[in-house]
């Protein structure tokens, strides 16, 4: 069975301007109980965290533990 790509909106957003992944920070990636966050490289070569997998319990350690306040957790669309 071949796979399709179905779009989904994600509840965790990162403010790239505040994110310090470029300095080696991975706090949000480390604390997520569902392990859904990752670090990616932006077009200008700097790094930022992002939500790679839409598997969120909207529990908030990523937002609470982020040292620069770059992470915002919202309620997933299906239940908000």
């Amino acid at each position: 069975m071949p796979l399709a790509q179905t779009a989904t909106s994600v509840p965790v957003t990162i403010d790239d301007a505040k994110c310090i992944a470029d300095k080696g920070c991975t706090v949000c990636v480390d604390v997520c109980p569902l392990d859904v966050l990752r670090i990616k490289e932006l077009a200008d070569g700097t790094k930022t965290a992002y939500m790679k997998y839409d598997e969120c319990w909207y529990c908030m350690p990523c937002e609470a533990d982020c040292p620069t306040g770059a992470v915002t957790v919202t309620i997933p669309y299906l239940l908000k």
């Binding site: 069975m1 109980p33 598997e55 319990w57 529990c59 350690p61 957790v73 239940l79 908000k80």
Partner: protein
């Protein structure tokens, strides 16, 4: 990250603790304290800093037995009555005797409990009979405080490894096979004793929102503990006694009547009328809740809008900071203000969780399972209505007993072929070029759980469920496909969820009576004390399918008088009272 790598490492330890949420850290600490020379490994598929049911914290102790407020006898009696008498009292009584010591220990870790002007614990009454609820104003610090203790005690913490199967040999536990959730590399851990604290089966039913992770429980608690215990040959008790919880509709988090109740909030119907006398959860309370939802008086609400501004503000402060802090975002998004509107409630999808209910891996008062050297504590062990303090306290029992056990034995020999067979099972979905992704296997399993297993339970529906589950299992074993290590973790979770679904159906069919209110409401059968005043024990049969036996309820430590037995059945507010 997430690329699938080939690799296998083996390490040895004296005590392996699987699960770093609540019970696990306490078990590790107590084992190390009792035997400082022991090599204790604490393993978690997430990060111990923020793993488990209390990832963000907890708003209070729901079952504290504090001298001056409650006695072990009274608590044991209350829990026995709330569970229709099907309780081995020894583990409950031991908990009730020793949990106060654990509270003081948690206090010394820096976790604060509410005190009154005289410096006494400010315990509240929520249960039908006794007084056990102790608020935790800074409950958001629990995980951080625990982590500090783990570092101090030099516990070896292994994060992002998921245990997939237990190893056994010589009639006892020998270790576990684990896989890295970001690289798919294997880790075989030999251990003299293994303590399981893997939490609830929280991803069994599908939430009404349809969002796979919008569960009541932390969705990382996907039932691996039950599945691993089953495949290792341990007994699981009373799995037909599901967990079903009252919750905030759609948000699916706790409504927290335990927090709001002592301050004047209560559960009401659409007319704003109280319909249950007591908001403490039991099967019968859930039945009344369900009946009200189905009736013309539904839906059901948490009512706070009659309270004074200062009271509402205080409730808000607790509920929007501790345990599930996105609750505030949710209400804001819908324009719900506790001062003006009532909060719509519903009931949760089904799950297994002794924290609120009563089923799980069978344990005695030392947290020993039916396999020597293997322990279980917290939401996955069968001590009823355990909540967070039960997880801590029984985790302590497990750690202390395991510290003794490991001193008497060497590593048990196991069959290397078991490791190879497990590697082949785990990696099968990585060997296919395409197929069915784990999220579809999981969605279908959980949708079928809702269609056919949710109470009220009907024999023909549950038999259909078994047929459909067998088809999904065939698809999973022959056609599941994963693209990276993260999806591999999800595929293993999907397999555990399917195992739990099979066990839920089999256990529910075996007990041919109704018991525990809504939890095991079998519409074709009435309660039958003559034949079913017993535990049911589920094990893996010789044919690889669930096998069942009855197990006697152990003689009571605390007697229950004939006129006390039905206290929890008198839940519904009398019509004449409700009208006043």
């Amino acid at each position: 990250m997430d690329e699938i790598l080939d690799g296998l490492t083996q390490i040895d330890c004296d005590i392996l603790v699987i699960g770093g949420g609540t019970a696990g850290p306490m078990a590790a600490l107590k084992a190390k304290k009792k035997n400082p020379g022991a090599n204790v490994v604490l393993l978690d598929k997430a990060n111990v800093k923020r793993s488990g049911a209390i990832s963000m914290g907890m708003d209070g102790l729901n079952n504290s037995v504090i001298p001056g407020y409650a006695t072990p006898e009274q608590y044991t009696k209350e829990i026995t009555i709330a569970n229709d008498g099907i309780v081995d009292q020894k583990p409950v009584y031991r908990y009730a005797e020793e949990c106060y010591g654990i509270i003081k220990e948690l206090d010394s870790f820096g976790i604060r409990f509410q005190k009154d002007q005289n410096g006494e614990y400010d315990v509240k009454k929520v249960h039908h009979i006794g007084t056990y609820v102790l608020p935790m104003p800074n409950g958001d610090t629990v995980k951080k405080a625990l982590y500090r203790q783990l570092r101090k005690a030099r516990i070896s913490v292994v994060n992002r490894y998921m245990a997939t199967r237990l190893l056994t040999g010589e009639g006892r536990v020998a270790g576990a096979v684990c896989v890295n959730t970001r690289t798919a590399e294997f880790l075989v851990i030999r251990a003299k004793a293994v303590i399981m604290g893997l939490g609830a089966a929280g991803r069994l039913g599908l939430p009404t929102s349809g969002y796979l992770y919008g569960t009541y429980e932390n969705p990382s608690n996907s039932g691996e503990g039950y599945a691993m215990a089953y495949h290792a040959g341990a007994g699981l008790a009373n799995l037909e006694c599901y967990q079903i919880n009252p919750l905030i509709k759609d948000y699916n988090g706790p409504a927290c009547a335990y927090v709001a109740g002592p301050m004047g909030g209560y559960t009401s119907n659409a007319q704003g009328e109280r319909f249950i006398e007591c908001d403490y959860w039991s099967g019968q309370m859930m039945q009344e809740f369900y009946d009200e939802l189905q009736s013309g008086k539904g839906p059901v609400f948490l009512k706070l809008n009659h309270l004074a501004e200062e009271t509402v503000a205080e409730i808000e402060k607790v509920l929007h900071i501790v345990e599930r802090p996105t609750r505030g975002h949710f209400h804001a998004g819908r324009g719900t203000d506790y001062r003006k509107q009532m909060i719509e409630m519903h009931i949760s999808e089904i799950g297994f969780c002794s924290g609120h209910s009563a089923s799980g891996v069978f344990v005695d008062e030392h947290a020993r399972t039916t396999i020597p050297g293997l322990y279980a504590a917290g939401d996955m062990a069968n001590v009823p209505h355990n909540y967070m303090l039960g997880a801590f306290t029984h985790g302590a029992f497990a750690g202390e007993d395991a510290a003794d056990f490991m001193g008497e034995v060497d590593f048990a020999e196991f069959d290397l072929a078991d490791v190879e067979a497990e590697r082949a099972r785990v990696l099968a979905p990585t060997k296919r070029d395409d197929g069915i992704p784990p999220n579809q296997i999981e969605y279908k399993t959980r949708r079928l759980v809702n269609d056919y297993l949710q109470p009220p339970k009907v024999t023909a529906k549950m038999e259909l469920a078994q047929k459909r589950f067998a088809e999904v299992r065939e698809d999973m074993e022959q056609g599941m496909h994963v693209r990276d290590a993260h999806e591999l973790m999800r595929s293993l979770e999907a397999a555990s969820i399917l195992d739990c679904a099979d066990m839920a159906a089999a256990a529910s069919l075996y007990r041919t009576e109704s018991r525990w209110g809504l939890y095991h409401n079998r519409v074709e059968y009435a309660r039958d004390d003559e034949n079913w005043f017993c535990h049911t024990l589920l094990t893996k049969g010789a044919d690889g399918r669930p096998a069942h036996e009855k197990r006697e309820v152990q003689p009571y430590v605390v007697d229950i008088a004939e006129d006390e037995k039905d206290a929890y059945y008198k839940q519904r507010v009398d019509a004449s009272v409700a009208a006043e």
